[in-house]
């Protein structure tokens, strides 16, 4: 405790804890208070109604596919940004942040505009019999958009720090380029890749703004769980909304712990390697 000499520790820590409690912890705790008004049986029934189960399938299914697509293409984008020099590279690097920066409602509106049957991309899909707007496909595309930066931004720094000596050694020892990438590069990237995937997935399951415009919000078909919560609230069905929110929060916290766990695992691995 050599650094105890700095003043202001007690008041700043006190303020931090009080402010955290007022803005975050107490409001979140009302969910627990609200759910305590219900019996476990009632909560279970509300959380597993047919409409709720359908919304989980759509939310988690689309989020999973979107995160997988981002894992593949995000790695490709990160690889291009780190390993190659080409005209427009700096611009591409900057554009990757746009889905982070854009208000979600604007993202939803923009995607709906291009994917509608008359839109710039939708008009090419329509003759193929593919409809994106008001379908699970549209939801997945919106979730790919908002999750795009996560894998790129987690994989990119690891790829930058990757020492060329490793790849050189593999190549000198007779490995083909393909073997080097598969056996040397990809395993090193795995923790970052999994973290990026988990972040994209966690963001996608809670996403609301970018999805509601494109999904059409048909019950049992394109109704995501956050929207169902919104509907319950508008009907003053606080019990129903609480049950759904508890399910979402449980999954979100599990993801948060998993992401922290992956980070710790990667640090341990890096330390022992």
């Amino acid at each position: 405790m050599a650094r105890r000499s700095l003043p202001g520790f007690a008041p700043t820590l006190g303020y931090t804890v009080v402010y955290l409690s007022l803005i975050v912890l107490i409001p979140l705790a009302t969910l627990a208070v609200k759910s305590a008004e219900l019996s476990p049986g009632e909560l279970w029934a509300l959380a597993t109604s047919d409409r709720a189960l359908a919304s989980y399938r759509i939310t988690f299914g689309a989020s999973l596919i979107a995160a997988l697509v981002n894992a593949v293409f995000g790695t490709i984008v990160a690889w291009a940004l780190v390993r190659y020099r080409f005209p427009g590279r700096a611009l591409l690097d900057a554009i990757v942040d746009i889905p982070f920066a854009l208000p979600t409602a604007v993202s939803g509106l923009a995607l709906t505009a291009v994917l509608a049957p008359g839109g710039w991309i939708g008009r090419w899909l329509a003759p193929l019999g593919i409809q994106a707007v008001f379908t699970p496909l549209g939801i997945t595309l919106a979730l790919i958009f908002i999750g795009l930066p996560f894998v790129v931004r987690t994989v990119q720094p690891v790829l930058e720090d990757l020492e060329p000596e490793l790849e050189e050694a593999a190549a000198v020892l007779g490995a083909s380029r393909r073997q080097t990438v598969a056996r040397v590069v990809l395993p090193t990237l795995t923790p970052a890749l999994v973290t990026g995937f988990a972040l994209a997935f966690a963001r996608a399951i809670g996403e609301y703004g970018s999805v509601v415009f494109i999904s059409g919000n048909k019950q049992f078909e394109t109704e995501i769980t956050p929207l169902l919560i919104m509907t319950r609230l508008e009907q003053f069905d606080y019990a129903g909304a609480t049950a759904l929110a508890l399910v979402m929060l449980t999954v979100s916290f599990a993801m948060l712990l998993a992401i922290n766990g992956i980070g710790a695992w990667a640090r341990r691995r890096a330390g022992t390697a």
Binding site: S5, L6, L13, V77, A80, G88, V114, E168
Partner: protein, 284 residues
Amino acid sequence: MTRTGARVALPGAPAVIGDPGWVRGLVIGTAIAFVGLFVLVPLAAVFREALRAGLAAYGRALVDPAALAAGRLTLATAAIAVPLNVGFGIAAAWAIARVRFPGRAILTTLIDLPLAVSPVIAGMVFVLLFGAHGLLGPWLAAHDLHVIFALPGIVLATTFVTFPFVARELIPVMEAQGAEEEEAAIVLGASGLQTFWRVTLPRIKWGLLHGVVLCTARAVGEFGAVSVVSGHIRGRTNTLPLHVEILYNEYEYQAAFAVASVLVLIALASLVARRVIAHRVEAT
């Protein structure tokens, strides 16, 4: 641009670990196509739809009284939420970055909590707390206080979702810098506040500014959480993103995209600012 396996990223590295030209072409092409299709094309579509009826109609949509009211409410919300989170971020970083204490890791995780919560749930908890049927609802009604469907609710929800941004930015910056200079100032007789203003603040100012930009951009653009608590009262509790939604639902597409295009420009400006500031953060 040389094409024969040159790898500028790792100067001096032998070509044995370079990728063949066709792989480079394929990877770069895929990256550009993916980002272009998913990001640039939709962005361009916003401006195309906004300007579809000409510049005059675009201008009219922006100076519409409801749009201006939404803009004012958005600014007012950010003007309250951002300073609140800046004050918190500085206090949290001062406590967490400089002193090892029990529970430090838990506190850091709790600060990140709002990032893991769906925006809809972030808004919902305030409805459960302050809504007409909420825990404090009857008491608020008895005292004629309005939180939900009013400015305080919108500010609270916005503060919740933007809560971690400044703290997350400052904690690593202050950890990396260490406390030696502050300790020297204290030993030389400066008070804690003097040390903060004269020693700490100049050293963290770029990191702080980066956090402020992130926090402001999110505060201006937040949709889900604010949507739950606002009640969508046109001209009164509509922020800009909510105004976009209302216009769209009322089939006023051109006006919706016009207002959306302003939000796009704000987002792009925040990205440029972040890039400029990030260079400064690295330089200090």
